[in-house]
Amino acid sequence: MSAPELYTNGNPLLKYMRQDKLPHFFCPGCGCGQVVSAFLRAVEALGLDLGSMVGIGGVGCTARIPVYINMDCLHGVHGRTLAWATGIKLHKPDTKVVVFAGDGDALSIGGNHFIHAARRNLDVTFVVVNNFNFAMTGGQVAPMTPDGSVTMTTPYGSSEPPFDMCKLAVTAGATYVARTLTSNPAQMTTFLKNALNHKGFSVVEILSQCPTHFGRYALGSGSPKGLVEWIKSHTVPASAAEKMSPEETAGKYLVGEFVNVEKPVFRGSTVYTPSTCGCGGKEAK
């Protein structure tokens, strides 16, 4: 079977994709494909019109996700996704904007934009595919690489403590924050749906497998299955964690929805109403 035939086997989600871009460039067993699938299921369930939406990717494997989805897309610059999103949302507040960012894109080079978008409650959905490393550049240590992991730039193990980006998002002011994992597609879809439905800064961290780099260097195996199982075994539902001791949850990722509240969304740094200023424009000169 030729590649295009392989991808046109009647999958109901294909209508949302740029089919001429297939086959995609993700490695076999990569989690990015599962994220695409869960996202499109959420789009289908919500009946969203992709033609009126903007998808944003920075640079990286994850950043390629919106390129495969049939909507307007901004792509190709590392770490500035939320800066782009801010420009679009402030000028056209009714446009739905969804960002796909890698852990490096979101939390390393883009970390400052992340906390400020959260603080402002920018009305954007921020999907972070946390594959625990800089994948596209070949598997270097990233801000969420687990302590002690061997990567291409931490050959003796990482001595950098990782971020808990969900805690960071909550503290900085995000109004919807959830963590899920690729091996739970139903939950992934639900959280993405909730995030897309949310008015305000919605953050979904997806723990995902990069067998090619993180699997091989940190776990010593390029097996997607082994890595998926490793991720699974390192997660605990947030609801169950409440009843567990600190020893039992040590080194585990809590999975679930951490916050879901309504707050005014960002409209600009200063919003004018005629009564705000009585100078009649004189001081503006």
């Binding site: 307007d72 500035r80 782009w84 200063t270």
Partner: protein
């Protein structure tokens, strides 16, 4: 005249930075993002007060990177967008300018040059505004020399950005930006406003990066209106698809550089003073035009036939104007407030057709007319 009036028609005594604000608003600017930096702050502050009152958005980004990317994306969403910064901030904006060039997003950047980390007058970033962004590109850079021109050139910057779908820089510097002068703002009906050409095609027929001619400008489709365009900094074909074939590179880079370069005589206008009979021509841009004109008068009083060629737009380089000049005078003197940067370009175009000299300094103040006169006298001797 109220805060809600887009055009503040009338005579004002206004600061250079505020003139940039009023020029932008008169040109239709409806989105501004910037990060505080002296001596560009009055542009942001003026925008913060004026823009929301005329229905636009003011955004203070968390840094220059955020600001430049926010305006590029707002532009793709249909806004007429601007930022303002000063030299060190421009450093951070380079990649964002590269992005705007690549996806052909019209934006305006006001760069108020300052000496390395300090607020003194300088033109030391005249090469930075031309070359800073990575990748093959041409830049349009306008250099006002008065407060009036700061207004006029900011209007023109928006119009050129819209016409050519490319970033345009208005390069000012500390002394001009903070100076107050007479400014006359014309009636709104007398201010030419250009809007980018929007596509009339349906999404099915639309090619976002196709132009009708080799050096043409593609028609625009706004984000979120069903056209489903990929705006990637990566090399892309006419459809916007990321494409790594040499033919795609060739067409893209030829067109995005050519659309500016091939129109340079239209864009890079010059003004001639006393050049009809001049033996020595001063070439200057921005605030250095002011002492150059004074030096010309002083030289003429001494019987030296001096003239001035004022460059409204140092970039794209006005190749033909300088070449012509070199054939008609005995010497060309480049006047600039730096250690000698633009002079190299001028001398390249002069190409030995006449003598050349430089009046260059970077001491935190513009040249005095006397300093320029002494270079004129040396050249004549």
């Amino acid at each position: 005249m109220g805060l809600e009036d887009r055009v503040l028609t009338g005579v004002h005594f206004m600061q250079g930075n505020y003139a940039a604000v009023e020029g932008a608003i008169a040109a239709g600017c409806d989105f501004f993002a910037g990060y505080p930096i002296t001596p560009a702050n009055e542009v942001s502050e003026g925008m913060a007060r004026r823009l929301p009152a005329v229905g636009g958005v003011f955004f203070q980004g968390e840094d220059e990177l955020c600001s430049i990317y926010a305006i590029s994306a707002a532009s793709l969403a249909g806004a007429k967008a601007m930022t303002a910064t000063a030299s060190a901030g421009y450093d951070y904006m380079q990649e964002g300018i590269e992005y705007a060039v690549a996806v052909e997003a019209p934006i305006v950047v006001v760069d108020v040059m300052r000496c390395r980390g300090e607020n003194f007058a300088t033109q030391s970033d005249i090469m930075q505004v031309r070359w800073a962004a990575a990748g093959d590109h041409e830049m349009i850079v306008l250099a006002p020399s008065t407060v009036q021109e700061t207004f006029d050139f900011t209007v023109r910057a928006f119009n050129l950005a819209e016409e050519y779908r490319t970033p345009v820089v208005v390069v000012s510097e500390m002394s001009l930006a903070l100076m107050r002068e007479r400014l006359e703002i014309p009636a709104a009906s007398a201010i030419p406003v250009v809007n980018r050409k929007r596509t009339a095609k349906s999404p099915a027929d639309y090619l976002p990066f196709h132009a009708d001619s080799e050096y043409g400008v593609p028609d625009f489709a706004e984000l979120g209106t069903g056209y489903r365009v990929i705006h990637s900094i990566n090399p892309h074909d006419e459809r916007g698809d990321i494409e790594w074939e040499p033919h795609a590179f060739d067409r893209l880079y030829k067109r995005i550089t050519g659309k500016v370069r091939e129109n340079r005589t239209k864009i890079s206008t010059v003004q001639r003073f006393g050049l009809d009979d001049a033996d020595i021509a001063l070439v200057a841009f921005g605030s250095e035009v002011r002492p150059a004109l004074d030096a010309m008068e002083m030289a003429r009083e001494k019987g030296i036939r001096a003239g001035v060629m004022k460059l409204d737009a140092p970039w794209p380089f006005p190749e033909e104007a300088i070449r012509d000049l070199a054939s008609n005078v005995g010497a060309v003197v480049t006047v600039e407030m730096n250690m000698g940067k633009y002079a190299g370009e001028v001398e390249r175009a002069v190409c030995g057709k006449c003598r050349t000299a430089r009046a260059t300094k970077n001491l935190g103040t513009p040249h005095t007319p006397d300093e320029i006169l002494s270079v004129i006298e040396e050249v004549r001797a």
